[in-house]
């Protein structure tokens, strides 16, 4: 496809290419490379210092737990709501479809504020009642999970919905006419067809979940070794002039996110909906 689309090369082609590469180099490539370089300035010292610091390891552990929960919730919710939006007709479908994107336009700080107003232990609308029932949300892990799930909510949906539209319903109908009920049709036909879009959506969600900062900062209370996540540790370490640990923790966070993206970009077939 690329060769068919390739244009005859003119001076403009090279100017554009140079412009784009230069822009991306100065904005992304070089700065990222410098962080990697700074992380390894003293060999593996920075990483070792960071990883032997209980504050850092506890935060990393909390981040991973929170991210996994948030991604799991978003995956189940995302697949379900995508199927409902694309395959079913119900009143308010258009409104719901527009509202789903809302979390992408809301400041993380506003997300934190919103969750505090709803689930805050003292002034929240539902917070006190839930705390009486023994469930603390704000300044505890459930609140951090909710904040993380909030900010990454649309990512899975945005990847799956176009693919569901694209594949149409014929394969699902064929499966039905061959005797497959709703569940086998989903597992054996629909899910394999949206597999790559789903994986990509999950990876984006994971990256976003690992990296959430603003919303978590407000909802978590930022207590070291209890409700402090990895991104909050980066801020604290940097401000405490423990820059080596800040860089090392950043590097680990970035590594997971970028590695997942790269692996998916490489593995994902160029055009997985192609066929006829």
């Amino acid at each position: 496809m690329a060769s068919r689309l390739a244009q005859p090369r003119t001076t403009g082609t090279y100017v554009r290419r140079l412009l784009v590469v230069g822009y991306l180099f100065l904005l992304v490539i070089w700065p990222v490379a410098l962080v990697v370089q700074k992380t390894f300035e003293g060999g593996l010292d920075n990483l070792q210092t960071a990883l032997s610091d209980a504050v850092v390891t506890d935060a990393l552990q909390l981040t991973v737990v929170v991210a996994l929960w948030a991604v799991a919730i978003n995956t189940v919710f995302g697949v379900g709501i995508s199927l409902l939006l694309v395959r079913y007709e119900f009143p308010g479908r258009g409104v719901l479809s527009a509202l789903i994107d809302l979390p992408l336009s809301v400041s993380p700080v506003v997300v934190g504020l919103a969750l505090l107003l709803a689930y805050g232990g003292t002034n929240g609308t539902f917070g006190p009642a839930l705390e009486d029932a023994g469930l603390q949300i704000a300044f505890a892990t459930p609140g951090i999970i909710m904040a993380t799930a909030f900010v990454s909510l649309p990512l899975v949906i945005r990847e799956i919905v176009p693919v569901l539209h694209e594949i149409g319903t014929e394969q699902e109908q064929a499966a039905k006419s061959l005797g497959a009920g709703a569940w086998p049709t989903f597992w054996r036909i629909t899910l394999p067809s949206i597999k790559w879009a789903l994986v990509y959506g999950v990876v984006l969600s994971l990256a976003r979940a690992l990296g959430e900062f603003g919303a978590v900062k407000i909802v978590s209370g930022n207590v070291a070794q209890q409700t402090q996540t990895a991104t909050l540790v980066v801020e604290q370490k940097y401000q405490d002039f423990e820059q080596g640990s800040a860089y090392a923790t950043s590097f680990l966070l970035a590594l997971i996110a970028v590695a997942a993206l790269v692996v998916v970009t490489i593995l994902r077939p160029k055009d997985d909906t192609d066929g006829d």
Partner: protein, 281 residues
């Protein structure tokens, strides 16, 4: 497509279009659960922000907005987000163009580079920019604690939006149409202006809206970079945080509501603009 006459040849397509069914009992249950979760997580908390700002009354609202520090923060946020979005419209489209139409070694790498600002934790994004444009800059450019740092941070975190919305549309764009325009005597520039840009307009708009919305709501990448200097580099999100930390939730909600309204206005405005460009082509 919805106005197809019964005998139109598009009947097969029409049948695909009505491939939805009404809710069954189990899908209805699923919808109920999904809506409950969505309401508890997103709708109710966000509504509470708006309610809180109204509850505070017009008085609080006005006091908050006329506070010089808050007003300056809002002005800075919106101005920088606008500039950055304008740059993204141009650069994002050019990047998408190069990624789709050009081919050279290392292009695949650029694809990953585009996603990095999205994948990187925002706090790390700030740290990353600080390494090249901070006090120890190998380039000798230090933007830390200046207005330019806000600009730079927003440019970094909003990079993927226009690129990623324009790219698929450009891929689908029929080369035949461009060739037809050329065969009819249109110059490269005329083809670009009359044929390509109008088809890309909706995608560019969508990307610009996302980019602007992200821009005015950015927080994490600025924490380490901008220094949050009142009246100088403090953005709206930081103001909200300060209000929350001071226990002034009503004022925080007021600024938050303004941000939501600005984002909404931008989305509507860009929609109108996109329709205008598409029609004018």
């Amino acid at each position: 497509m919805t106005v197809d006459t019964p005998l139109a040849p598009g009947a097969a397509r029409k049948r695909r279009a009505r491939s939805t069914t009404s809710l069954t009992r189990s899908s209805g249950l699923g919808l109920g659960i999904a809506l409950t979760w969505f309401s508890l997580l997103v709708l109710i908390p966000l509504s509470l922000v708006v309610i809180q700002s109204i509850d505070g009354g017009w008085q609080t609202f006005r006091e908050t907005l006329t506070n010089p520090q808050t007003a300056a923060a809002l002005r800075l946020t919106v101005t920088q987000a606008l500039i950055v979005t304008a740059i993204n419209v141009v650069m994002g489209t050019v990047i998408a163009w190069v990624l789709v139409r050009d081919s050279f070694p290392g292009k695949r790498l650029l694809e990953v580079v585009i996603d990095i600002p999205f994948a990187l934790p925002t706090i790390v994004a700030g740290l990353v920019l600080l390494s090249l444009y901070g006090p120890d800059s190998p380039l000798g450019v230090n933007v830390a604690n200046t207005e330019r740092s806000v600009f730079l941070a927003l440019l970094f975190v909003t990079l993927p939006f226009v690129v990623r919305t324009v790219q698929p549309v450009l891929m689908e764009l029929d080369r035949d149409v461009e060739e037809a325009a050329a065969s009819l005597g249109a110059s490269r520039f005329t083809t670009l202006r009359r044929i390509i840009l109008p088809s890309l307009a909706p995608a560019i708009t969508a990307g610009a809206a996302l980019s602007f919305a992200r821009g005015i709501s950015e927080y994490g990448s600025l924490v380490l970079l901008s220094g949050n200097l009142p009246l100088k580099t403090e953005v709206a999100s930081v103001r909200i945080l300060t209000y929350i930390e001071n226990g002034n939730e009503a004022a925080a909600a007021s600024v938050a509501t303004i941000l939501l309204l600005v984002a909404l206005a931008a989305i509507v405005l860009l929609q109108i603009l996109s329709k205008w460009v598409a029609r004018r082509g």
